[in-house]
């Protein structure tokens, strides 16, 4: 490590980054969550040259609304890097934003969360892109481990804790005991797949085309995972495929439940197979205490009830599920410093 980076490191703070498919969340030690922005970058093309036009929320507003010379890109797909250079640029921008007040260019210690079933190549890409963004040291941690720590589960005890982290691109399921992952499963179904399912449903049932942003809004406002007495409605405008003109129509929560049936079934099946694969002692712990939902997907209405009914186990939603992973990563950094728990991270 160069001396200059060490000196710059003295003026930088330790960061825990949840580099998600949908959102990037940064937790700073001692300051809490300081950045929560969509993982979107808008690139402007000047002939052969490219430059970053916007990053984060500003870039997300451009998604699907860009002129010819600007492309809004989501550089992460299914929890891993799809576009290396753009990810690096995005991370660089976010790290710089967190250190806005510092005089020197920041060189922080960074802990990044990776999907537990990501390949060595994918992990290496995330590590390299964090180094490229100016990090002094990069640690990697498996997402469900960070999520469990962030949710306040007793990961260091000889008790099985089960965590289901439903992110934008992937759903991570893990059974954790004694600071280690006993069983982990990752399915490439998450919030994005819910949005796609809604887009597909509207096209099929209403013959209209809606964008991803609209689908996400529908999911957040009336999306539900379990049939309840309360039925919600939303007015949506989309382009009618037959007539070619925008049309307005009303969707209700029952329809959305129907649309989300398939991706939800995938998640439930993955949870069931995790329970099947868990050792009997840990399974009894989980049966007694239940499993914990984290990630943005846990905010889908009544998802805990669905999983609870399907598995017959108590299911609880963690506090602030969206930021669990980033906070857990921050806590892991502390544990590494104070208790030398290097084992929490991946080598």
């Amino acid at each position: 490590m160069s001396l200059l980076k060490r000196i710059r490191g003295m003026f930088s703070t330790d960061l825990s980054i949840d580099l998600g498919t949908a959102n990037t969340i940064i937790y700073v030690r001692g300051r809490g969550i300081v950045l929560d922005e969509p993982s979107v970058v808008a690139i402007r093309n000047h002939g052969a040259q490219k430059s970053v036009a916007a990053v984060g929320i500003n870039a997300k507003r451009m998604l699907g609304r860009t002129p010819g010379n600007i492309t809004a890109i989501r550089p992460m797909k299914d929890g891993v890097i799809a576009d290396f250079e753009v990810t690096e640029k995005m991370l660089h921008n976010f790290i710089r934003r967190v250190h806005e007040k510092s005089f020197f260019p920041p060189a922080p210690r960074v802990l990044v969360c990776v999907p537990c079933k990501s390949t060595q190549v994918e992990r290496r890409a995330i590590q390299d892109s964090a180094y490229g963004a100016g990090a002094r040291e990069v640690y990697l941690i498996e997402e469900p481990m960070a999520a469990a720590i962030g949710a306040g589960l007793p990961v260091d005890e000889a008790h099985g804790s089960m965590v289901v982290d439903i992110g934008g691109g992937t759903t991570e399921i893990a059974i954790i005991s004694l600071n280690g992952i006993v069983y982990a499963e990752s399915v490439r179904v998450g919030g994005d797949r819910f949005d796609e399912a809604i887009v597909g449903f509207v096209r099929k049932e209403y013959g209209s085309l809606i964008g991803e942003s609209t689908a996400e809004r529908i999911k957040q406002e009336i999306g539900t995972a379990y049939l309840s007495d309360e039925i919600l409605e939303i007015d949506v405008r989309g382009r009618n495929l037959a007539e070619g003109v925008p049309r307005s129509f009303t969707l209700n929560s029952e329809e959305i439940l129907e649309a989300l049936k398939d991706p939800l079934a995938t998640i439930v099946n993955a949870v069931k197979s995790a329970l099947e694969a868990s050792p009997p002692e840990l399974a009894s712990d989980i049966a007694e205490r239940g499993l914990v939902l984290t990630g943005g997907g846990a905010l889908l209405r009544d998802l805990d009830r669905l999983i609870s009914e399907e598995t017959g186990l108590p299911v609880i939603v963690a506090d602030e599920p969206l930021t669990c992973v980033a906070r857990g990563g921050g806590r892991a950094l502390e544990l590494i410093d104070t208790q030398g728990m290097e084992g929490l991270t991946l080598s």
Binding site: A151, G152, V292, P314, D319
Partner: protein, 289 residues
Amino acid sequence: MTETGQAGQLLAQAREAQKRSLQEVANELKLSVSFVKAIEAEQCSSLPDVAFVRGYVRNYARLLGLSKEETQQVVAHFESIMAPAKDIASGTPVVAPKTQGPRWWRLLWLIAIVAIIGQVLYMWQHSEAPAGSSEAALPKAETVPPQEKRASATESRQEREEDGHSTVVDDEELSLEISEDIAQPDDTDTADIAEVDIASEEAEPVIEETPAALVLAFADECWVSVTDNTGRTLFSGIKQGGEELILEGEAPYRFVFGNGAALESMRIDGEKVTLPERRAGQVWRYASR
């Protein structure tokens, strides 16, 4: 809701109002009856970690149809009785009190770095001009007491008066002469001015007309000290590149050059002295015959 037992009571009352048994509620929540009992009795010891209890209570409140505010109050109560200090899960900064320490350390580091950079710059600047280092090595030659200088100035003046022609030795001496002349109360103003004029005119033409005893030409900046046979210091100071030093004294002379290579040529009584090989940046001592 700070009193112990109140939150549990609220849940129990709401359950009884809906005529649900503990067993029914436990089945709905997929919890054991003992956990539901413990929640209603607020027996923290028989419940798992706060992260779980928070979820159980929230689910229980939702099942009973409690309002959002009531749910929040009940959850907050259980949090307060189970974990007085908020943990990481509640999103509060974990190491907030520690922040003062590192900031002080950072300030100290910054000061140390600035001091080191300053030191390095200082040393670097002085390493470029080795004359400075020779100054340190030769403190005696450098410091000439002012009285001695004054004496030497008057001596040379007397000599010049005796010889009938004068040679300007140094700017310092010249100014000394002028100031002394001005200070004489007996002389008239015109005489003063005349004398000053002469003195200032003497400075240049005289040098060219009469061959000086000692002429040193410099190619580069150099600290130099010259003493003559009588032990008198003729000059001690720095000369820039391209300058000439013209001195009057009694041969043989002794020279010390801070940067030996900076000396371009040396003439003693009009004769050019062949100079030996000198190294740049090194002190060179020389004695004429």
